[in-house]
Point group: C2
Chain length 459, copies 2
């Protein structure tokens, strides 16, 4: 099966059945694939076009001079079974059906979808979709979606029952390879997960799930893959309202949420509560070293935020580290006597003075990271009065000197867009979270993943 | 009391006791007040300086040629009682004590604080602090903090036991007036809340609370004020870890969280779970029309997000509106037959095509807003392929035609910094939330506030 999945993700040639003659607006797959720089051969098929973008168009699949690895069928639903038949007759083994309005719509659509699947299977072909963007693989300059998504070679794969995660996680577009299962008429989560589980380019896998069939088989594959790489799942349709919406979306019967929760937990899949938590987890797994425990050192420039950090810590199952006497002594040297050398570390008024802050912050961070009782450090800062470059210049040396310990930050007083987050990550070796709660939640889930891995690898 | 509070927020003259000679680094209050354009008279007091910034410095408060409205004492803790005594002797009735290391530190600090409070009260003066930035009032170009905070005339007041909310809500700085209670040695939440409750410049009040004394009096004032304007409270120290941190912060005994929760609910204060929810609520109350019910119309360009929106709706106590037959008929005209004219409205593939999307989106929004069964609309969009200006150009006419109904948005695929949010708000008349969950949570809390107000105003 993995070999056949490769035809979807690494095709050398693609037949574009129902290729549009309309170009120039970013909605032409043929044109988009050229812009992505897809290096393989493309065969636009359209009986009403002689050529598209100056290249020869073929009246039908049978006229293509080779057997393409992959066919992308973009015709209306009524013609889908016939087109699948023509692809199968040609000997094509991987077929994507883009059309909506199949099992996601009505009985007639369901009938058409079932017929297409039957024809494909009888011919030894596999189907992706219907109701799908298809596949994307930035490593191969491939993206079959009918809108243009800029993608980068990020070691994250998404498997999604929606176009929603296809172009990447929403904010940072952290997806390098993607499979949109759509209605999952044939190929489902199991096949896709198995494929990415074995893919050396991929370090983290994200799922958007409405419903999973063949649960036992899926869980078996998921358990095996989760021992090698984190799998993060977002479940849609967890409430009755959402379940109803899911049914009209992909014709999915979502099943009871508790069943999914239990199944995910059992096989080591991390369930994200929403798409933002999903993104936080991806960033954390991509950019943080292994988190070896839950004992957090917190440094803050304002103790109000320190109190909130302690609350968030307790709420999300993290702990405030008990500092060693050596660390306390070091902090006592650095801080005014009334602040006390406890955790959270209140950098106090010195944090607001350009002449005092940097050295205090640098040495406090070094002291916390040196403490064997501290598993990770959270730095609560604002960009007033210090700029990003000041903060990262102060923190980077200590962070680099302790590459085995995660250092994360909540920068509370400013818009931390992806640009600023990237600057922290690149210059300061820190992962920045948008909110305090999200920082703690992500750390706690990451810690849980490594605890499970350690138990599995255990003595 | 309100009259005396005015001396803190609208002083005509200020004595700066312990004014620093160090200037030019943004940490000199005297200098900062000049930069803010404070129009009143400033009297720097420093026995070791003849002049500061070219202006005459006074050796002691007694040498000032008038009785200033307000004194700001920035000397170390040991001298605080003496300085308060000198201010009282001068006849000053409003005194801010900046120093840390009083009741927030140790027994000696507590003693010094109590002595200062006693001296002030005997002289008919009120104290703010210690351990405080003091007060800010953008309407009067006043800010007594020892770091520079740019502020705007926003009709939001903060009352905070920390410098944390002093410069505004973290992301958007939505505070026009602020009181930092610090250790609350004398002035507490009750006095501050009463003042802002009566202040016609202020529409929304935010609190950062570690502990409140004189609970009964506070609740009485809060109940009265909450009937006129929303009060949003963030409580620090709601977990044992947080409570411990709070004690070292402001010497607060935070008390049991459930007691606060019940008390806030009882008097109509909206308790925010974190600082981001607090900010969402401020934005919502500032920029949305009255939300008259919980029946939400949802429009989405991707039904995966529609499913998640339905889930979030159910989770946070909102409802999906049942669309009228007229609305359904209108949507059926606009959308392909297989999408179905239900709520969430799936704008479908047309949403991704520049030639189809705008008209479909515009007319769908108009249809939802016209439906009497829809109280508000959530628009789920991405900035790919439509730009902000395209989206706002499409939505603004319908939003403007229905000024009585809130229209909010979740723009899922991009960094929505404050700049983009402001563009939506200004050009599109929409409030944009950073995440779907936050959008639903904020709408639900806002709905709850108006339900309470309606009951109170009821027949």
């Amino acid at each position: 099966m993995i070999q056949q999945m490769r035809l979807f993700l690494e095709p050398r040639s693609i037949a574009l059945v129902g290729a549009s003659r309309r170009t120039g607006d970013g909605n032409n797959v043929f044109e988009n694939l050229k812009v992505y720089g897809f290096p393989g051969k493309l065969y636009p098929v359209n009986p009403r076009a002689e050529e598209i973008l100056g290249e020869r168009a073929y009246p039908s699949v049978s006229d293509i001079p080779e057997v393409p690895d992959l066919a992308l069928i973009s015709t209306p639903r009524a013609s889908v079974p016939q087109m699948v038949g023509e692809c199968v007759a040609k000997g094509i083994k991987a077929i994507i059906i883009v059309a909506q309005g199949l099992a996601d719509a009505d009985d007639e659509g369901r009938r058409l979808q079932e017929e297409a699947v039957r024809i494909a299977r009888e011919g030894g072909a596999r189907l992706l979709g219907p109701n799908t963007f298809g596949t994307a693989n930035a490593f191969c300059h491939l993206n079959t979606a009918f809108i243009f998504f800029p993608m980068e070679k990020v070691p994250v794969a998404s498997i999604s029952q929606s176009g929603f995660l296809f172009g990447g996680t929403p904010r940072q577009r952290l997806v390098g390879k993607a499979i949109d299962l759509g209605n999952s008429g044939d190929i489902g989560f199991t096949e896709a997960l198995e494929y990415f589980g074995a893919d050396p380019d991929i370090k983290v896998i994200v799922l958007y799930v409405e419903s999973i069939r063949n649960g036992r088989q899926f869980l078996e594959v998921a358990r095996r893959v989760a021992e090698k790489k984190p799998i993060i799942a977002l479940k849609g349709g967890v409430t009755p309202l959402g379940a109803e919406a899911a049914q009209s979306h992909t014709g999915s019967l979502t099943g009871r949420n508790e069943v999914y929760e239990a199944a995910f937990r059992q096989c080591g899949i991390i369930q994200a509560g929403d798409v933002d938590e999903l993104e936080d987890l991806v960033v954390s797994f991509l950019h943080l070293p292994v988190l070896r425990g839950r004992r957090l050192g917190v440094m803050t420039i304002t103790m109000g935020a320190g109190v909130l950090a302690a609350d968030a810590c307790a709420r999300h199952g993290m702990e405030l580290a008990s500092l060693s006497s050596r660390t306390r002594a070091k902090l006592a040297e650095l801080l005014p006597p009334w602040l006390g050398a406890s955790n959270p570390v209140d950098l106090g008024p010195s944090a607001f003075t350009p002449w005092g802050s940097k050295e205090v912050m640098r040495q406090s961070l070094e002291a916390l990271l040196t403490d064997p009782g501290v598993d990770a450090v959270l730095l609560v800062v604002s960009t007033n009065p210090m700029e990003v470059r000041d903060i990262t210049a102060v923190t980077a040396p200590a962070v680099e000197a302790h590459p085995e310990k995660p250092v994360v930050s909540w920068v509370y007083n400013t818009d931390i867009g992806e640009e600023i987050s990237a600057r922290y990550r690149n210059a300061g070796k820190m992962v920045v979270y948008l909110t305090l709660g999200r920082a703690m939640k992500a750390l706690s889930r990451v810690a849980g993943y490594w605890e499970r891995r350690n138990r599995a690898d255990g003595p």
